[in-house]
């Protein structure tokens, strides 16, 4: 009974503490909402520069949509706040012609090439926001405009199951060709060795070079050819049918059917995954951005606020269990960022060097994350003791639908401006619902 009462008391105290915490932070939020999004590791550069996380990001997939979006950003000759754009020049200029035919290059599954990767992942972001002192310092109030670009230097690798399917696909294509070549052979003496060599030649010089998505390594290809050569000739000779065209064709048809069964199994396993074409492994992204302000909302008073560039290496593991229909991903990210503030215009005294790391686990609609960012300022006001500060945030996201995401963040933060450099021991808890229209995500 005593233990039960103790437990109930603890639960009540915990609940009261949580309510107090949330209320305190709610009240705190009314006067000064924390801008932890300004250092979020995986936001588009333009929004990072503005310190915003827009709910409605327009992602035009055609030039017409892009122009329409730009027109909507201006109303009565004024640039509207809370506009957010993101687009990929490559995919704007090269829209998918046949969306139903599998095109490995569209998913960056074709042969690895740094220039190609950079070109196809190059993305431009643009956003606007109302200005405030935290982000824009002593610049006159107006409309802030953020511009950013980012691209991948390394874009990860396809999943192991995708390779298994593709290997099976290529091998099955070979057996089909081999059987067809034997079937249509019209020579006087049926010579299976000659036909086999022709089939291997076709594999190496026609099938594989034409294949945009070839996952067979040179060693794997060599092993496959040697295995086929030994086993087919041996089995045909053992059965005494190597000179019998009809019997050999039937034998090869059976091999092609067996290869089809293997491909079918690998394809079924692949399609059970929530996102079969997703990449994993090591990725590295380069980003750069600038924020300007139209002071007093006057187009003639455009001032540079800050510039930044950063690198974001990351590693993704697909930890989904085999045959599972749910997706489980573990992401580990880091960031190293340099921000140059326009100190002459009074944006801030010093420049920032940020180093951060984030771990996130995604299971279907849930994402849990833990993020740490360390900031060093080159110069601080005389009344600020330290040049460094940090933030430690844990977060939970739940995607209720394509339009609605519930987000909750808990941790310690800082305001991010050397004039208001705070000791990051103030704990906050922020929860809310994000409502937005999700356009097509360009790859």
């Amino acid at each position: 009974m005593r233990d039960k009462n103790k437990k109930q008391m603890k639960t009540k105290l915990f609940t009261l503490a949580l309510i107090y915490l949330l209320q305190w932070q709610y009240l705190r939020a009314q006067s000064e909402p924390p801008k932890f999004e300004s250092l979020k590791l995986n936001s588009s550069p333009a929004f990072v520069m503005l310190g915003t996380e827009p709910d409605n990001i327009q992602r035009p997939s055609t030039p017409t949509q892009f122009v329409a979006g730009m027109n909507n950003a201006m109303v009565d000759g004024k640039l509207q706040p809370n506009v957010a754009f993101e687009f990929s020049p490559y995919y704007l200029a090269n829209p998918k012609k046949d969306s139903k035919q599998f095109n490995p290059s569209y998913y960056l599954l074709d042969k690895q090439n740094l220039i190609k990767t950079m070109k196809r992942t190059f993305s431009v972001s643009m956003g606007t926001s109302s200005t405030d002192k935290q982000v824009f310092g002593n610049l006159k109030p107006g409309t802030g405009i953020g511009l950013g670009l980012n691209f991948l230097l390394l874009d990860g690798k396809p999943s192991p199951q995708l390779k298994k399917w593709n290997d099976a696909y290529i091998k099955q294509a070979f057996y089909d060709k081999f059987a067809a070549m034997a079937r249509v052979y019209a020579g006087k003496d049926f010579d299976i060795s000659m036909i086999m060599n022709q089939a291997f030649y076709t594999l190496e010089n026609e099938i594989l070079p034409a294949e945009e998505f070839n996952t067979l390594s040179q060693k794997e290809l060599k092993n496959f050819i040697e295995t086929v050569r030994k086993t087919v000739l041996y089995d045909l000779k053992a059965a005494g049918i190597e000179k019998d065209k009809d019997a050999t064709v039937k034998f090869l048809d059976n091999l092609a059917t067996d290869a089809l069964k293997v491909e079918s199994i690998e394809l079924a396993l692949l399609n059970k995954q929530s996102n079969p074409l997703s990449k994993q492994g090591f990725m590295i992204e380069f980003s750069a951005g600038q924020a300007h302000v139209f002071e007093d909302n006057n187009f003639n008073e455009l001032s540079l606020a800050k510039s930044a560039f950063w690198l974001t290496p990351s590693y993704r593991w697909d930890v989904s269990t085999e045959n599972s229909q749910s997706i489980s991903l573990l992401d580990l990210m880091a960031v190293i960022r340099f921000t140059s503030n326009n100190s002459e215009a009074g944006v801030d005294l010093g420049n920032y060097l940020d180093a951060g790391t984030k771990m996130a686990f995604t299971q279907n609609k849930w994402t849990g994350s833990l993020e740490f960012v360390y900031r060093h300022a080159s110069e601080t006001p005389s009344n600020v003791n330290k040049n460094h500060t940090y933030r430690l945030i844990s977060g939970i996201d739940y995607k209720i639908s394509d339009l609605l995401t519930f987000k909750f963040n808990f941790g310690t933060g800082f305001d991010g401006n050397t004039s208001t450099y705070t000791d990051p021991k103030k704990i906050f808890a922020i929860g809310g619902l994000n409502f937005g229209l999700m356009g097509l995500k360009l790859k």
Binding site: S99, N103, Q172, D176, Y185, L203, A210, K272
Partner: protein, 140 residues
């Protein structure tokens, strides 16, 4: 569209006699293959073999034939056309239905200016699906 389809799904093709009318004796005939997949979030990957007797008309890696030239009506008489197409369906979007979509497979024989015949077959849920066709041309 012809009512009897020479296309066999997941089984060996049975020879189908294709009659070429006398008016197309001198016409250059061609072959086109089309695949229709309507399910959102899925794409298809097709691999085709086209042999006219012993001649390989579609080198490996080439896209599905679109007006692939076969020969004049007269030259095609008593020639056998073997077509084998394997269609694999793969899910391309996160959140798409897990059910393998069906595809419609269409073969068209025509001249430069007109379509003479088309045959179609719908797949089942098996993935990949293999469509086999053997046409024996006969000039009337």
């Amino acid at each position: 569209m012809a009512t009897v389809s020479p296309i066999h799904l997941n089984s060996q093709a049975v020879q189908f006699v294709y009659e070429i009318s006398a008016e197309h004796r001198e016409s250059l005939l061609s072959l086109s293959i089309e695949i229709i997949l309507t399910q959102e979030g899925w794409a298809y990957r097709a691999n085709s073999q086209v042999f006219l007797n012993a001649k390989d008309l579609l080198p490996a890696g080439k896209p599905l034939p679109n007006k692939l030239e076969l020969g004049t009506g007269e030259s095609l008489s008593d020639q056998s056309l073997l077509i084998r197409t394997k269609v694999s369906r793969i899910k391309t979007q996160s959140g798409a239905s897990n059910e393998v979509p069906m595809v419609k497979y269409i073969i068209r024989i025509g001249t430069v200016t007109e379509e003479l015949s088309s045959f179609e077959k719908e797949s089942g849920k098996e993935n990949p699906s293999v469509f086999n066709t053997t046409l024996l041309f006969k000039q009337l």
